[in-house]
């Protein structure tokens, strides 16, 4: 080619590579954190702690995958925590009304269905009313939760349907750690499998390409024949369905159906997703990055005590990680844009 080209980013050594691939940057940060933490307290690397960490990532991780999808299309979904709690509670209340004692799968199906429906409402409001998704989902956030508490009930249930309660003990690996039974919760595997399926769908199916295309350049996507509206709706529906699943898992794993729970989780989810490198303007981000973002936030959120930092400082670290994770790649991007004469400054 004869026109001026930019130097390939890979040519600039390890640091440049790290900065270019958010996943690599996150992995390095996570490895560094793990090394530091396990030096400070070797029990960080115990099965008990690692399994615990895995379990803590589940519900935030599921919601994060959904939010990631919506962000990829250039929208935003703030309402996931309300969808999660609504589907979980409605499912539980319904099952308990019928004194249901059958398989947990029905509960899963119901929660996913309710979550998906609430997500569909978001999607339809966004695409048909042509309102910004930020506004719509802030509206439905308060609406869903308000409706749930005002019209469905506020009672917290601790005696869940038997199969649902049993799910809290659903373990895939069991071992004994200092005489204590520790188990890797099955939900961790479910999260990983779902994430893998989603990652495959995003990279291998046209649906996935369309999700990225819409966030990347919506006009081009329209001109290339992508059914933009319906694809955007699917992102909201999946986000709702994943949130529904997250809510159900949260309730089953804590064996409590509490309609007041999960309040404010949307902020943690959003923080994890943007830390994972998903662009809030769409078109960029990956499943792996999202999971790594969730993992990093979970590590910071649940291991500081182990290394002797008071929980009080936890938020500070999360904030710094987010700023660092978002800021450093941005600086690099700005520099590249500058070099290519793309930035119009004052």
């Amino acid at each position: 080619m004869t026109a001026p080209t930019t130097t390939a980013p890979a040519g600039r050594g390890f640091i440049e590579l790290l900065l270019a691939r958010r996943e690599l940057l996150l992995i390095s940060v996570i490895i560094a954190t793990v090394i530091i933490f396990s030096i400070a307290n070797p029990s960080f690397l115990s099965f008990a702690h690692l399994f615990g960490l895995g379990r803590s990532t589940v519900y935030v991780g599921l919601m994060a995958l959904g939010v990631m999808l919506v962000l990829l299309t250039g929208g935003i979904d703030i309402s996931v925590s309300a969808i999660a709690v609504s589907s979980m509670y409605l499912t539980t209340v319904t099952l308990m009304a019928f004194d249901y004692q059958g398989t947990f799968l029905l509960a899963v199906a119901l929660a996913v269905l309710i979550g998906g429906t609430l997500g569909l409402v978001n999607g339809v409001l966004v695409t048909w009313l042509k309102l910004p998704s930020l506004i719509v989902t802030i509206g439905t956030l308060t609406l869903y939760r308000g409706a749930l508490l005002a019209f469905v009930g506020t009672d917290r249930f601790r005696s869940l349907p038997a199969q649902m309660a049993e799910f809290s003990g659903f373990a895939v690996i069991r071992t004994s750690d200092n005489g204590r039974m520790v188990a890797l919760h099955g939900a961790v595997l479910i999260l990983i499998v779902l994430a893998a399926v989603l990652a495959l769908a995003l990279s291998r199916t046209w649906w996935g390409r369309y999700i990225y295309a819409i966030g990347d350049n919506q006009e081009a996507a329209e001109r290339m024949g992508v059914p933009v509206r319906s694809i955007r709706v699917t992102a909201f529906v999946l986000s709702g369905a994943l949130a529904g699943l997250a809510g159900l898992f949260y309730a089953a794993m804590s064996r409590t159906a509490d309609p007041a729970s999960l309040n404010g989780v949307e902020m943690t989810v959003l923080a994890a997703v943007v830390l994972g490198g998903v662009s809030v303007t769409g078109g960029r981000g990956s499943v792996l990055g999202t999971l790594l973002g969730v993992l990093l936030i979970t590590i910071v959120g649940s291991s500081l005590v182990l290394v002797g930092i008071p929980t009080a400082w936890q938020q500070l670290f999360i904030g710094l990680f987010v700023l660092f994770g978002v800021g450093v790649p941005a600086l690099r991007e700005r520099r590249n844009e500058r070099r290519r004469g793309m930035v119009v400054s004052e």
Binding site: G52, T154, M181, Y250, S254, T256, A260, S261
Partner: protein, 324 residues
């Protein structure tokens, strides 16, 4: 001020929606609405209203937020209630709005806030240190009076929780020399999931842990679940404040040994009785019987009214006796 009207005996008692007339009413304000503990409190208020035919009802904010509670109280003052029975979310945060209420001649009775300034009376089911000491006795009994234990509180800024754990710790140091407190107090934000995660961390950090004392009503729920999953029902003792309904399964499995609580419904009932007494121009006497379980011979210290050690201990044997 509207106190001259007193409570209107003819006012309808309103259970399900509809506009209850606020003016002249005695209104009970919980920390927040929608959690079982305060749902029970609401039942107490309803019971009182039925028993006495007074215009008494229950109203609170949807959020676990001191500022939101203040706004509910503001609205109630503006709508001309006669008396407020408040369980402050954070006692110090409501001082000013309660002062405003007192300045508008509204009777103010608080609960779970023995140090409050702007109230006619505060009512406590018991003395907090005695409650904490009793919890420690239960814990020591379950641990065989030896080993490491940890303490959890809903929030480090909750004065009652802190009084319980402080008194318990002091009592342990004086009476159970073979027990040791490990770790910082774990803060759980009244969230069972946080308590669960906190317990997992405690187990990792202190493999020899033998006991846990919980404070918030969600603490032992999370802790019990962690214990059950770790298969440590028999080696770790768990005691703390909770409601029977929340813990029945964990008590049965042995993950929780003892729960201790008081009945928020009766406390609210007692608050309402005192409020009514004051509205009628009466005074509260030492040893008086408020006509509700646990408050048959109250004691008064300064502005704080104590019930007769009105706490309840529940183990697996009697867990079926309560439906809240």
């Amino acid at each position: 001020g509207t106190t001259e009207e007193g409570a209107d005996p003819a006012a309808p008692i309103d259970g399900e929606g509809g506009g209850g007339d606020a003016s002249g009413a005695v209104v009970t304000v919980p920390k927040l609405t929608g959690i079982p503990w305060f749902n029970r409190m609401e039942e107490g208020v309803k019971l009182y209203a039925e028993d006495t035919d007074e215009n008494a009802y229950y109203q609170g904010s949807a959020e676990a937020d001191a500022a939101a509670q203040v706004r509910v109280i503001e609205d109630l003052i503006a709508s001309g209630v006669a008396a407020l029975c408040v369980t402050p979310f954070q006692p110090d945060a409501v001082e000013q709005v309660l002062k405003k209420a007192m300045d508008s001649d509204i009777i103010v009775i608080t609960h779970e806030a023995p140090t409050i300034e702007n109230a006619d009376y505060d009512i406590e089911a018991f003395k907090n240190d005695e409650y904490g000491i009793n919890l420690m006795d239960e814990l020591a009994k379950a641990m065989g009076e030896e080993g490491e234990y940890a303490q959890m509180v809903g929030s480090l800024s909750s004065s009652t929780h802190m009084e319980w754990v402080d008194a318990a710790k002091k009592h342990q140091e004086e009476n159970y020399p073979n027990m040791t407190l490990v770790g910082d107090r774990v803060e759980t934000s009244d969230d069972a999931q946080k308590a669960y995660e906190g317990m997992q961390e405690l187990l990792s950090a202190h493999p020899n842990l033998k006991g846990v004392q919980g404070s918030a009503s969600t603490d032992v729920v999370g802790v019990g679940q962690a214990v059950e999953e770790a298969g440590l029902q028999d080696s770790i003792a768990v005691v703390g404040t909770a409601t029977p309904k929340d813990t029945v399964d964990l008590l049965e499995s042995g993950a929780i040994d003892v729960i201790q609580f008081w009945d928020p419904g009766f406390a609210a009932y007692a608050q309402n009785v005192i409020a009514k007494m004051l509205l009628d121009g009466g005074t509260v006497e030492e040893g008086a019987d408020l006509g509700v379980e646990g408050y048959s011979a109250i004691s008064i210290e300064d502005k704080v009214i104590y019930g007769d050690k009105a706490w309840i201990n529940v183990t697996v044997e009697n867990s079926g006796d309560y439906d809240y």
